[in-house]
Symmetry: C2
Subunit: 342 residues, 2 copies
């Protein structure tokens, strides 16, 4: 497999944190190779002391600029042609890398990825998908914020892409697809979800119908489809709710000496719970629907979490995600063109 | 204060559960009076054995029909004119009750409340608001699902109503208002939130700008404004995330004998955490913007939670919520008409 291009300059941390993440991914995955993109003066000193075997799996691609977290996507495309983010995406385009990873500005990465790689035939807009912890393991949810809106057709494309990822990257034979909505009987949402519901019911996908916010975690569905506005709000809401619960627990376990003792006794168990739900374990949201693989790491991700994003990118590249999505969407497009309702 | 009309027939539980909730509310609030709406044959046997003092605060209003959980709002309005839900709302309209509470079908209650009570001048659509646990106590969020969409003007009305509730019902001097959006710098949402942002920045409200899903819990904002689709998804998502965490903890604390022992030691602390976040403590979402007070209890709410919804209704009625909202919206309307930008 070609190396994974890694933007080590963008994100809330300093570049060494991302280099550390890349090294961890290399240690975890013996077949992985990486292309570290950024300022060689910051990268080389961290690579030089490594073993020859490890160094043999690391290349460096220089980039003289960095897209800042607050930069507008338009400006990032126009003015930052030698940014680490742009160079990493360009390396995928030119066939030198099998995928790229960045923890930078989501809007800029999304815009650059669309501008450089373009969407696959049959895909109007790429979407961001990620695994979310759920009762049965995890649910795959998209779009988590690549777009602020989606048409019924686009929601249908998201569903098809989510099904491919759940099947080919995560090994689910026939992933159950749900469309995020409000209420169940009373008021079944606005016209966009209504129209998407009709489209999905006619598709070849294993569509189970409308689901609600709590079904993301229930285990009753494998892929949750929604527009990028709703998906991003839901993602941030679950992070916030989990953070509030963790804070309350920390506070209560410090409230008295007896609580502190109980906290010490419970610590190993609580650590296991926290680890099983640790957002760092689920880091690495994939932009799907483009001609190449782009993985977005959380901006606040540390090295440990960044390594997960790299492993996700490698997995997607190995399983031939792009080709599989292209095939599925072409088949779906052909089916729609024939007016098939099977 | 006039009594609170209570629909004891609608919801996931049987009527006795809701009568029990009403009795609990009466015991908690010595000045409260209730009007139990439903089948007298189910209500009277539960009221008859009570003390004379308690019975003196309970009236009964007969209703021969029940709106089912799956019934369409349109059918509920047309065909169920003697339903407990309709009669409870009618009692508010006719001035016999100061507010009403129901755990029934949200869509039907919303439709009946709009049909019977109508919206206040300056309010295009009523919204559902509820308190959500947050780092600083709680955040008030609306719309939680009365409408599937909202215009920028409607979001502005929701903000004004949320501010009144936070101030007059919950006692916050100058509630901080945030508009729910995705991202912070990158992509600031679709045109509706953009236009609402401009409106709110010009208003007299203490508007702090865009907030993200995790800010619902952060304590940085007191009122979170959004459309009913996004708000309902966020609400259900936080419930689902909290449920997943609770399930994982239960499972891990049962995984071994040492975990069970640790769980016993930690139980009092964990109970305090659970109690502080218990959705039953926050039960009772208010429909605001109508000419009367309508409180929606969660369909699954038990008696304990139903009592909270009744207490919420009584608080809103005592504080003169409807009149305060009417005044605020009239003032805002006048201001807008004068083109004031202060």
């Amino acid at each position: 497999m070609l190396p994974i291009a890694i933007d080590v300059m963008s994100g809330d941390h300093a570049p060494p944190e991302y280099v550390t993440g890349a090294l961890q991914a290399l240690r975890e995955d013996a077949a992985l190779r990486v292309l570290l993109v950024g300022d060689p003066a910051l990268i080389e000193p961290r690579v030089a002391p490594l073993s020859a075997a490890l160094r043999a799996r690391i290349e460096t691609a220089p980039a003289s600029e960095v897209v800042s977290m607050g930069e507008s996507p338009r400006e990032a495309i126009r003015r930052k042609k030698d940014s680490s983010m742009r160079v990493a995406v360009d390396l995928v385009k030119s066939g030198r890398a099998s995928a790229c990873v960045s923890a930078g500005n989501t809007g800029a990465l999304n815009a650059i990825a669309h501008f450089v790689l373009k969407t696959l035939p049959g895909v109007e807009r790429a979407a961001i998908i990620s695994a979310i912890p759920a009762a049965h393991g995890h649910t795959h949810m998209l779009d988590l914020g690549a777009n602020t809106k989606a048409t019924p057709e686009q929601l249908g494309q998201f569903a098809a892409m989510g099904a491919i990822i759940a099947r080919d990257v995560y090994g689910l034979a026939s992933p159950r697809i749900g469309l995020l909505n409000i209420g169940e009987e009373d008021m079944k949402g606005h016209e966009v979800v209504q129209a998407a519901h009709v489209l999905l019911a006619r598709s070849r996908l294993n569509y189970v119908g409308f689901v609600e916010g709590d079904d993301i975690f229930s285990g009753d569905v494998d892929v949750v489809v929604t527009d990028g506005f709703t998906g991003n709000v839901a993602l941030k809401t679950m992070e916030g709710a989990a953070g509030l619960i963790a804070d309350r627990m920390r506070r209560e376990f410090r409230a008295s000496w007896s609580a502190r003792l109980a906290g010490m006794a419970a610590r190993p168990v609580l650590r296991r719970v926290a680890a099983s739900l640790d957002p760092r374990r689920y880091n690495g949201a994939c932009m799907v629907g483009l001609t190449g693989i782009v993985v977005k790491s959380h901006g606040r991700a540390d090295g440990v979490a960044f390594a997960r994003a790299i492993i996700t990118a490698a997995l997607a590249a190995r399983r031939g995600l792009t080709a599989h999505i292209a095939q599925a969407l072409a088949a779906q497009g052909a089916e729609t063109a024939q007016g098939s309702t099977t």
